[in-house]
Structures are given as structure tokens and as C-alpha cells.
């Protein structure tokens, strides 16, 4: 997987560094899955675990959604000017 990561990034024009970073940023939002599992496994009366999980889910979602939306906004601009 490490090699895939390296292979994938190999040669990138510097223009795309920011969107790429932003996209990668959104992808590591997969931690959200862990947060969901924690949350779903917690006992219904274990408020500490529920609270932790709840916060984790919110933060994780923020990371995922915000990350993808920001990246899309950035790339949208690149696209516009490609049209002749």
C-alpha cells in the first residue's frame, strides 16, 4: 500500500499540489468508520463512551465532507477555464 501511495503521487504538476493535499486530507477522513464502530458498540448507558464517539463522529464527518467539498471547489475553478 505504501508503494501504491508513492506510485500514485509520482509525478504531479505543482499546480495540483494543493488540491491533491486537500483530496488526500479528505480520504484520511476514513477514521470516521472507526468512530462509527466505537459509537455503535458503546453501551447505551455509557455516556462517556457515547460522548467521545459522538464527538469523534462529528469531527470525522467534518473532515470527510469539508475535505471533499473544498477540493471540489478548488478543482471546479480549474475546470472552468479549460472550456474554450
Amino acid at each position: 500500500m505504501i508503494f501504491v501511495g508513492i506510485e500514485v503521487i509520482g509525478r504531479v504538476p505543482s499546480v495540483l499540489h494543493t488540491p491533491l493535499m486537500s483530496g488526500a486530507n479528505a480520504i484520511h477522513g476514513v477514521v470516521i468508520i472507526g468512530a462509527i464502530i466505537v459509537m455503535g458498540k458503546a453501551e447505551t448507558d455509557d455516556y462517556f463512551a457515547l460522548g467521545l464517539g459522538f464527538l469523534a463522529v462529528i469531527l470525522g464527518t467534518l473532515n470527510v465532507v469539508g475535505g471533499f467539498v473544498v477540493t471540489d471547489r478548488m478543482l471546479e475553478m480549474f475546470k472552468k477555464k479549460k472550456a474554450p
Partner: protein
Amino acid sequence: MALNLLTLCYLIASVTFILGLKMLANPASARKGNLVAAFGMTVAIFATIFLYEDNGEKLHNYLWIFGGLVIGTVAGTIAAKKVKMTAMPEMVSLFNGMGGACAALISAAEFNHIYQLHKNLPEIPFAELATIGHYITIVAGAIIGTISYTGSIIAWGKLNGKVKDYSFKGQHIVNMIVLVLVIIASVWAYKSTIGSILLPFILVGFFAFVYGILFVMPIGGADMPVVISLLNSFTGVAAACGGFLYNNKAMLTGGILVGAAGTLLTILMCKAMNRSLTNVLIGSFGGGNKTSAAGAMKTEGNYKEISLADTAMVMSYANKVIIVPGYGLAVAQAQHICHELEKILEEKGVEVKYAIHPVAGRMPGHMNVLLAEADVSYDKLMEMEDANDEFKTTDAVLILGANDVVNPAAKSDPDSPIYGMPILEVEQAKTVIVNKRSMKPGYAGIENQLFFQPKTAMLFGDAKKVLQELCAEIKAV
């Protein structure tokens, strides 16, 4: 059966992550790549919610889960939609911090889980409850996630100017000590019994928290992109720790992928600035301790100012003008008026181009994004090598709030902190007009000899205001 379907969903997600990232690396497919990865993420999230089973038991607490998802989605979308293009780097850093915090919280929750199960047996050593591998994934997730969180928050604060650079003598030693304390506390926690484990575990979190702050604090703003990219890969590793913890393929793939890609991207960015990673992290570039050489050339020579009317004259009668945008353009939100200027000049038959330094602004590609927002045509943007060939035949260069990327000291002064960084060789043009707000040095904290050269003229003021007035003047010429 359900589990197999879940595995399949995770496989799909992993593939989309790889594919998405690959497509993001290519201008033509970048946007689609982002959507592909987002799709994979959605599949993974919903598959987890509805298909995940632990010993044959489905997840519960759906209300909480969906509550969290909805709040996060709404807040994330609003934040991402409303943020100004200039503030993009901060936003990425902030989101990264959220991911780090999420990873750290998962570790804390997992630790709490073990703790709660056994808290009525205070005599049991923790080592008997969790294997060393299990413990390492928990504690590594907590440490890396926390560092990534506080580091990103500091980086965010620095980029929007809320947090100033701060460094003190022997900071690297202090940092090392804090890092060692993190490790000591982790070992201590593992050796403790259930009854006495809370204190060391909290200390682990505390020291990691402090380390994250200290680690980013002395790093200069010009190096922030590198740091954010590095923290980005940290969060990836933290996510991968979570993947090990739950033996979850999607988390593992996503985490390691970002960890590797982020590290490589970090190195690429360093290369674009011709500096090594250690140099960025240890050499406190732009920190408090400026090198003596940089200080020595402080009051060297005089600079001359140019009026708006003269600038308008020079530019209207030029054959070719190259605009060099920098962070000053971004803060002043001057990209639209800059495009306006370009159009007015072209109507007068002047050839206008943009020279983009790879690290101009606060993030690589920052300027491209900004100018793209203002509809500046793609083929007017020149990369550094092409631009350097063109300066010789250029009549006037207009520098808008860029500084370090045009500092000739990078070529001529081996003592300069930015020595060796490739620059835009604007001094080859006939005239150089520099728009800045004041004579204050740029982000690297060093003087720029360019400003004192005879062919250079200074045009002080906020980039947007100056450009508006300049447009009006040129129209009147």
C-alpha cells in the same frame, strides 16, 4: 453473508481511494477523481453503519450516529462553501486537525472500553488485558492523532495570522524532551495496573498535545504548506492505526495511502523549494533567530518610489508585461482586478503574462487557484522555468505582494537562509515595479536586495486598491 458484503464494500472503497488519488494527480481527471473517492467514502460509511457486525451483533445507537453525521455534514459543507479562496490553506489545515482529533478520540474510546470492562479489578496489570500490538495501535493512534490535531490548529492559527511565530533558544532540545516524555508515559501506562493507569494515559495525551504545539510553533509561515502536508500524512498514519485496531480494510487502505502519499507530497514540496525536510523542521526559517548575515544587509542602499501615473505610463507603453503574484495579492483579494488590469493592457496591445513561482502564496498552486477563480486564462500562467526565459525580453515586471520568491539573495548570498531556492529572475527585465504594503521583509524575515536595485521602483499600498487606481490611470493614458 452480510460480512462478505461489508468486505466487498470496503474493497470498493479502497479501490476508489487509490483511483481517486491517482486521478487527482492529473489535471484533466482531477475533479472526477475527487468525486470517485467521495463516492467510495459514502459506500464505506453506510456499509459500516448497516452491515458491520461484532460477534453477530449489529451496531446500535443509530440516533447518535446519524445525529453526529448530520451535524458534521452540515457544518462541514457550510464551512467549505463559505470559505474564501484565499483562506483555503487554513481550511485544509483545520479539517486535517479534525481528522486527527477524531483518530485520537477513537483511541481514547477504545482505551476507555478496556478500562470500563475491568475497572472493578484494579490489581490486574494492563499488560495482561491487551497484547503489546493492540496497545501500540491504541497509543500510537492517540499520540499521532493528538499531535496532528494541535499541530494543525497551530498551523491554522498561523496562516490566518492569529498565532505568531515563536521560538526560543534550545527549543529543539525541549521538543525532544517532550517527545521522550510521551514515550515514557506510554511505556509507564502499559506497565501499570488497571487501578493506576489513568494518570499515565492522560499524561500521554497531554505531552502529545504539548508536542504538537511546540513542533509547529517555530516553523515559519513560508514553510507552513510543508508542515500541513506532513501533518496530513500523520493523520493518515493515525487512521491506519485505527484500521489495525478494528482490522478494518478501508481504514487501513485509506490511512496508509494518505500516509505514504502525504509524505511523498511533503518531499516534493520541499524539492520545489530546494530544501530538505530536516532543514524545514529544524532550521527555524523565519523564526526569531535570524542569521547575522540577513541582519547585516538590512539598511543597504535606498529604494525609489514610483507614482501611479508613472506606473501606468510604463505599463501602457510596454510591449510585454509579466505579473508576478504573491501572497499580497491573495490577502488583498486582488485577483479579479488583476485580471481586469490584464484585459485593459491587452486592449492597448500589451502582451501580458503571469509568472507563477511554485511556492508563491501560502501553498503550492495557491496562485493558480486564485487566478483561475478570476478567469485568467490557463495559457497566460507560466511556470518558473518558462518565465525565467521570458524575463530577458520583458519591458516591465509588476510584482504584486511577492517577496522571497524574487529575492536574488537566493542565488547570490550563500549565507542567506533561502540560499539555493530557485527564484523568479525578475531582475533580467528592463523595469521592475514592486507593489507591497510597506518595506517590511517577507515571510522568510529577510531583506530583499531587489528592492534597492536601480531598475526597481516601489509602488506602496494595498494590492487591490493600487490595482484599481492603476486601471483607472491606464484607461486615461
